[in-house]
Amino acid sequence: MTTHTISKGFDLRLAGRPEAKLQAAPEPATVALETAEFPGIKPKALVKEGDAVVTGQPLFLDKVDRDVVWCSPATGKVAKLEFGERRFLLRAVIDNAAAKGGKESFADLPKPSGDRTAVVKAIKQAGLWPLLRQRPTGKLVRGDREPVAIFVNGMDSAPLAADPAFAVQGRKADVQAGIEVLQKLTGGKVYLSLRAAGDHQSDLRDLRGVEVHDFKGPHPAGLVGTHISRIRPLKPGEIAYTLRLQDVARLGEWARTGRYPAQTVVALGGSDAPARGHFRLRQGAEVAALNGGKAIGGDVRIIDGNVLHGRAIAADGHTGYFAAAVSVIPEGTGKRDLFGWALPQFGKLSFSRSVMSWLLPKKEYVVDARLNGGHRPIVNIGAWERVLPLDIHPSYLVRAIQANDIDEAVKLGLLEVTEEDVALCTFVDPCKIDVGKIVRQGLDLWEKEG
């Protein structure tokens, strides 16, 4: 075991941290799968509206790799298939029979066995392949290149995040079975990153087949991009798979039972969250299920993911395929501070001491979704560098991408980051530049240029 100390970064102390209490959320009336969560796929529906489906039955496949399917996380009826331009499938909504007291039945999924190719195919057909993501790019794994390593992330340092170690508590057998699946996917090592001296880790310290690395320090100490840079940086042409500890447990559950693992643990937090805790929730459940079936109202922003990297969902929307945390913060509509830039602002969260909240530090801050400033050209006061623990010069990387010079951007470390790794740069930037968006544009261009 190695301990890595991250010194650069920033922990956002936000109000409404989810408590370490697990309870079952009610069965959602509907569940949904959105294709927008998987950029680059070409979905083809395998069911029609009105069809009866069982849990684990494929709903659509990806025409780029027809083995990759997405399965229904519930038993019931296909309520709606939403299409966009040129009949591009946007969303599949399933009426969940269990909400009305119906019985859940499971599709018979093949268990993983045989060589790497057979295991890959089995994972794809079980609808679990999208749980794995590829570095570089941080997207769905494409092609059949073998990864040099698999990084399992057993911690999350993002604000209001669920603690993955807590989420898989009591599921040691599932985690172990999941790791055994992963071992078949790579000739390299499987790494597990854990928070140094974290809680709920008793089951995780003696797993077989993984190399454990401890990380301590402020966010982004818990991001897989940080872990890769410290454990085993990728060389040009190499790829790695990344996934989260709770997803390993889901893989393991499928490997052990042959059933689609539809239940996930989602942390609910944020200053405006109706409750603060961890919920056992059906994948893709409508977000209202976290509020006892009632829509979360008010001028709030409901975020699937965390406040630094996530997507906003409507009050009547659904949690995503990857949902591990849902944060509810004020939206801040129409709120405009008089002389906001000139007053000391004792109660505002900031990385910079030019905001005077360092004088009277609060334990927790309520932060809304306002930008708190106008867009400006890059004026680099060194804030990006202070929150990025990677050996990258972020301003030069951003400029190379903006100039569409992808060769230069790659030399500057584009392939070592995703938008999640630079989210803190976006947060601290006084010029309100969306660094994550720029990084994603760069990665997209890199993919396009092959």
């Binding site: 956002l12 936000l14 940086p233 040009p236 922003r301 406040v307 630094l308 990297h309 997507r311 906003a312 913060i329 509509t333 129409g334 405009r336 501070d337 008089l338 002389f339 906001g340 830039w341 000139a342 969260l349 900031s350 990385f351 910079s352 001491r353 030019s354 905001v355 932060v367 809304d368 979704a369 306002r370 930008l371 708190n372 400033g373 106008g374 867009h375 400006r376 050209p377 004026v379 006061i381 060194g382 804030a383 560098e385 202070r386 050996d391 010069h393 301003s395 030069y396 030399k411 500057l412 470390g413 989210a423 976006t426 947060f427 601290v428 006084p430 010029c431 969306d434 994550g436 968006k437």
Partner: protein, 426 residues
């Protein structure tokens, strides 16, 4: 506040819509509106949903706060030096208290010329500094807004700092028309032609100083300082006290025939003593004289994280190190090289330059290593100009501008090393 907000919202209709009558000058309205109220922007629905409370306005405001001690001292010192000079002339029998001519503010608050006190100093200082500030901000912001309207971009805050810096690095006796020309030159050719805030190569305030230095060398050469007065003597532009001027501390050093440290200490009966130089009881450019005020500003900039401590520290180390080497290796006992190395910090505008000008995030290197190199070289070049160059007594301005030009080059090598390190892993 709600009243103000309603008023703004009502006016906004005249400007905001693309087909509205006054839409052409929308950036002006936007600048004013966001000066009052934080802009109504919210984070995108995907990505990063929360943002730091700091924005560019606040960053610039923080720098302005850091410069306030210097500004206050500038106001005080312009008055103090003025009455000091008047009294010296009265004592020498060259003028009388009755012959004193008042300026525009003194016409409202008449001074007691025979026994001037704090009030007299402040009134005179305001009388000089307010017009300088107004011209500096008026001309500079005017041009910035004009370019914003033409470019249809939001007005950037960069000039808020430049405007104040400019007021602090020109002599209080400067004719306002010279200042206006200098500001116009620096903002248009030093900044806007490159694309505005964030795009310029040279520090705009330093460009003003350089322009004035070369265009109106008689008043800005750095050898002699005049003391601001209320009259423009015949044949001399600017409002200064006729017949009263003295060499700057660095000019004393430059011209020293004996030991420079001793010459400095002996000059004018201790006018350039260490404590006078440190606290700023000397005539010179408005804001850079008091090292104490500069240090207060430096502390604030470093504490808030807005100014780079790397540039400041490496600059001072570069200055001291080079001065020490030059002093020791040359073994000089006479001339500028004989000045004690640490006395370089007290003389001239180096401290002000390294704290407020060299740390400009746009015209300095962005990499940490680059900042160390850049600061150290500014210190080194300053000493070289001061001690070896036969023409100019002060080198800070030239050093900062020179290193501004080299900043992208310094970064290039640091970034190239980063790329090399990345390739090495392969």
């Amino acid at each position: 506040m709600q009243f103000l907000r309603n008023l703004v919202e009502k006016q906004k209709k005249l400007y905001h819509a693309p087909d509205s009558k006054l839409h052409k000058v929308w950036p002006l309205f936007d600048a004013l509106e966001t000066f009052l109220f934080a802009p109504d922007h919210r984070a995108a629905r995907t990505g990063t949903h929360v943002r730091d409370y700091v924005d560019l306005k606040r960053v610039m405001n923080t720098v302005i706060v850091a410069m306030l001690p210097c500004l206050l001292w500038a106001i005080w010192n312009a008055g103090a030096q003025h009455f000091h000079a008047i009294h010296a002339l009265i004592a020498a029998g060259k003028t009388t208290a009755d012959a004193y001519v008042t300026g525009w503010l003194q016409a409202i608050v008449p001074p007691n010329v025979t026994e001037p006190g704090a009030m007299e100093n402040i009134v005179f200082g305001l009388q000089r500094m307010l017009p300088i500030l107004i011209v500096s901000y008026g001309v500079g912001l005017g041009i910035e807004m004009l370019f914003s309207v033409v470019r249809k971009e939001e007005v950037s805050e960069g000039y808020l700092v430049s405007g104040m810096l400019i007021a602090l690095i020109v002599p209080a006796s400067i004719p306002l028309w010279q200042l206006a020309i200098g500001v116009a030159f620096a903002v248009v050719l030093g900044k806007e032609v490159f694309g505005g805030t964030g795009m310029n190569i040279f520090n705009p305030a330093m460009m003003v100083r350089a322009f004035l230095f070369f265009a109106f060398a008689a008043q800005m050469s750095g050898d002699m300082v005049w003391v601001a007065g209320n009259q423009s003597p015949i044949g001399v532009p600017g409002s200064l006290i006729d017949g009263y001027s003295q060499p700057t501390a660095l000019a004393v050093v430059k011209q020293a025939t004996g030991n420079a440290s001793e010459a400095l200490a002996a000059f004018g009966g201790g006018a350039y003593s260490h404590s006078n130089l440190f606290f700023g009881n000397v005539p010179g450019s408005a804001g850079e004289m008091s090292k104490l005020c500069v240090l207060l500003g430096a502390f604030w900039l470093v504490f808030t994280g807005v100014g780079s401590w790397r540039v400041m520290l490496s600059g001072v180390l570069g200055l001291l190190g080079t001065a020490f080497l030059m002093h020791t290796l040359s073994g000089a006992t006479t001339g500028p090289l004989s000045l004690q190395p640490w006395e370089h910090l007290l003389c001239g505008g180096f401290l002000f330059g390294i704290v407020f000008m060299a740390t400009d995030p746009v015209s300095s290197p962005e990499t940490s290593t680059g900042k160390w190199i850049y600061g150290a070289l500014i210190g080194a070049v300053t000493v070289l100009v001061r001690t070896i160059n036969p023409a100019y007594p002060e080198g800070t301005m030239l050093a900062v501008l020179l290193l501004n030009a080299f900043a992208p080059g310094i970064d290039h090598f640091v970034v190239a090393a980063n790329i090399k390190r990345r390739l090495k892993r392969a």
